[in-house]
C-alpha cells in the first residue's frame, strides 16, 4: 500500500467520521440532560438538509441565508417536539421516552417523504468543489467545513459542560430530576435547551452534508445509527468522546475497505466497536460510574 493511498483512506475516514461525530454530539446533548437516546436525531439531520434545499433551490434564498434559516427552523421543531412529546413523560422510564423518539422518527421521516418526495436532493458546496491536495491525497473543501465545525462545536460544548453552571445543571437533570429541582434548577427549561441545541446540531450536520452525500427523507435512520455508535464508542455523555468515537468509526470503516473488503466494512467497524466495549464497558472516554451501597 502506498502512502498516499493510506492517507486517502484516512482522509476518507475522517470525512465520514466527522459527520458521524457531529451527529454523535447531538446524542450527547440529549443524553446529558435526560439519559435518553434520541432515536429521532437522524431526522433532525435530514430536516436540516431538506429545509435548506427548499429554501435555497425552492425559495431562492442565498445559500448561507438558507442554511441559517434551516438551522433555526429545525431548532424550533426540536423545541416543539420536546414540549409536546418529551415534557409530559420526563418523569417516566427512559425506555418509554426512547420509544417516543422512535415514534417521532417514524413520524418525521414519513412527513418528510410526503413533503420532499423520495428522491435525494442536494445543495451546492459552501466553497466550491475543487479538491485540495494534501500529500497526494485529496480533500474537498466541504469536508474541511464539516471537520472544522465539528471541532469548534466540540470545544464549545466541552467548555459549556466544564465551565458553566448551566452545563452542570444539565447533567444534574439527567442524574436526578428531584435533586435538580431542589437545587432550584428549572429542569423543564434545561431539558428544552438541550433538545433545541441537539436539533440545531443535527441541522448543522444536515446542511453540511447535503452537498457531500445528498439528503433524502430516508437517511435519518442510518445517520442516527452511525452517530449513536460513535457516541457509545467514545463514551456516552462525553463530547470529546463523541468526536473521537465518530471519527474513529469513520476511519475504521474506510480502513476496512482498504485492507479487508468493502462489503464487510460496517461489520468490521461494529466488530471493533464490540471489542472496545467488551474491554471498556463505558466506551473509550466514558466514566465508569460506581454507586456506593
Amino acid at each position: 500500500m502506498q502512502f498516499d493511498q493510506l492517507l486517502q483512506f484516512i482522509i476518507s475516514g475522517i470525512t465520514s467520521g466527522s459527520i458521524y461525530a457531529l451527529i454523535a454530539l447531538g446524542f450527547t446533548l440529549i443524553y446529558n440532560s435526560t439519559q435518553v437516546i434520541n432515536l429521532a436525531q437522524g431526522e433532525f439531520v435530514v430536516y436540516g438538509g431538506l429545509i435548506a434545499v427548499s429554501l435555497y433551490a425552492g425559495a431562492g434564498l442565498p445559500l448561507f441565508a438558507a442554511v441559517l434559516l434551516s438551522i433555526i427552523i429545525v431548532t424550533l421543531i426540536g423545541v416543539v417536539f420536546e414540549r409536546l412529546a418529551i415534557r409530559p413523560l420526563i418523569n417516566h422510564s427512559i425506555m418509554t421516552l426512547i420509544i417516543v423518539t422512535v415514534g417521532a422518527s417514524i413520524l418525521f421521516k414519513n412527513i418528510a417523504m410526503i413533503i420532499w418526495g423520495r428522491d435525494p436532493l442536494t445543495i451546492p458546496a459552501f466553497s466550491g468543489d475543487d479538491p485540495i491536495m494534501f500529500f497526494g491525497a485529496s480533500i474537498i473543501p466541504q469536508s474541511i467545513w464539516v471537520f472544522g465545525i465539528t471541532m469548534v462545536t466540540v470545544v464549545l460544548l466541552q467548555l459549556f459542560y466544564k465551565k458553566t453552571i448551566t452545563g452542570k445543571a444539565m447533567k444534574a437533570c439527567s442524574i436526578n430530576q428531584t435533586a435538580a429541582k431542589l437545587m432550584g434548577i428549572n429542569s423543564s427549561s434545561i431539558v428544552l435547551l438541550s433538545f433545541a441545541l441537539s436539533a440545531a446540531f443535527g441541522a448543522i450536520a444536515g446542511v453540511l452534508i447535503a452537498p457531500i452525500s445528498m439528503v433524502s427523507y430516508s437517511m435519518g435512520g442510518f445517520l442516527g445509527l452511525k452517530g449513536f455508535a460513535g457516541a457509545v464508542l467514545g463514551g456516552l455523555g462525553n463530547p470529546i468522546g463523541a468526536v473521537v468515537g465518530g471519527i474513529l468509526l469513520g476511519i475504521l470503516e474506510s480502513l476496512s475497505i482498504g485492507f479487508i473488503a468493502s462489503g464487510y466494512k460496517d461489520a468490521v467497524a461494529f466488530l471493533i466497536l464490540l471489542l472496545v466495549l467488551f474491554l471498556r464497558p463505558s466506551g473509550i472516554l466514558g466514566a465508569r460510574i460506581k454507586e456506593k451501597v
Binding site: 453552571i165 442524574i175 435533586a179 429541582k181 431542589l182 437545587m183
Partner: protein
C-alpha cells in the same frame, strides 16, 4: 416566615397529609416528631414543592407558594435537605456544591460563592479532602455531610432538614447541631425532622407532633419534653446514649 394552613397532599389515591396547620417564625428552630410513616418527610416535600399539595395554603415570606415550582421556591430563599440525600452521584463533591449555589450564579459574585464553599469545607473538612471524588463513592456519612453542605450553598433563609443526623458519627452530630444553633443566631430559620425526638426537641424552640398525617400536638419544646404522653411514645423505653 412560614405559615401552613389546612395542607393536604396525597400519593395517588393515598392521602398522606390530612389538613396540616403549622407555623415557623423567623429565627426559630421548629421540629416535627412522629413515628415512621407519619408524613414528616411528605410535609417537607410539599413545602419545598417536590410534591404538589392537593389543597390548603403555604405562605412563605408572605407569599402563597403552594403552586410554585421548586425552582422558584428555592430562589426565594428556602432550601431542603431531603431524605435519602439525593446527591448527584456521578458528579464530584465540588460540582455538587456548585449546583447547590445554582440560583445564586446570576445574583452573587464568584467570590461570595467561593467563600461559602470554603465555609462548608470548614464545617466538614472531609469534604475538602475529597472535593474531586464523585459523590456516589463517598461513605454514607460523608454523603450526608455533602447533602447538608449543598443545601447551605444556596444561602437559604429557611432550611428544611430531613433527618440530618442520619448515618453520622456521634461526634459529627454534636458538631452539626452546634453549627445549626450558630447559624440560627445569624438569622437562619430551621424546620427540623429528626428520628431522635429528644435530641430534636433539645435544640428546637417549638415542636409539632405528627401522627397519621395530622398534627396532634403543638407546643414549646420544653413542654413537649415534659409531656408524659410524648415521653411514652417517642422517647421509647430505652434512652439513647447521646
Amino acid at each position: 416566615m412560614l405559615d401552613i394552613r389546612g395542607l393536604r397532599a396525597s400519593y395517588g389515591h393515598i392521602e398522606v397529609l390530612k389538613g396540616i396547620d403549622l407555623r415557623v417564625d423567623e429565627g426559630e428552630i421548629v421540629t416535627m416528631i412522629g413515628s415512621n410513616g407519619a408524613g414528616k418527610s411528605s410535609l417537607l416535600k410539599t413545602i419545598s414543592g417536590v410534591v404538589r399539595a392537593s389543597s390548603g395554603e403555604i405562605t412563605f415570606k408572605g407569599k402563597n407558594i403552594e403552586r410554585w415550582s421548586c425552582a422558584k421556591i428555592v430562589a426565594t430563599g428556602m432550601s431542603h435537605v431531603p431524605e435519602g440525600r439525593q446527591l448527584f452521584g456521578p458528579l464530584t463533591v465540588f460540582e455538587n456544591l456548585q449546583l447547590g449555589a445554582y440560583t445564586r450564579y446570576r445574583r452573587d459574585s464568584k467570590k461570595e460563592i467561593d467563600e461559602d464553599t470554603e465555609f462548608v469545607f470548614e464545617m466538614f473538612p472531609v469534604l475538602k479532602e475529597r472535593w474531586k471524588q464523585t459523590a456516589g463513592t463517598l461513605s454514607g456519612g460523608e454523603q450526608q455531610m455533602l447533602a447538608i453542605g449543598r443545601a447551605l450553598m444556596s444561602k437559604p433563609q429557611l432550611l428544611l432538614l430531613d433527618e440530618p443526623s442520619m448515618g453520622l458519627a456521634p461526634i459529627i452530630i454534636q458538631n452539626i447541631f452546634a453549627i445549626l444553633k450558630d447559624l440560627r443566631k445569624k438569622g437562619l430559620t430551621l424546620l427540623l425532622v429528626e428520628q431522635d425526638a429528644m435530641v430534636a426537641l433539645s435544640i428546637a424552640d417549638r415542636g409539632y407532633v405528627l401522627q397519621n398525617g395530622q398534627v396532634v400536638m403543638a407546643d414549646t419544646s420544653q413542654n413537649l419534653l415534659d409531656n408524659e404522653e410524648v415521653k411514652a411514645i417517642y422517647f421509647g423505653h430505652r434512652k439513647k446514649a447521646h
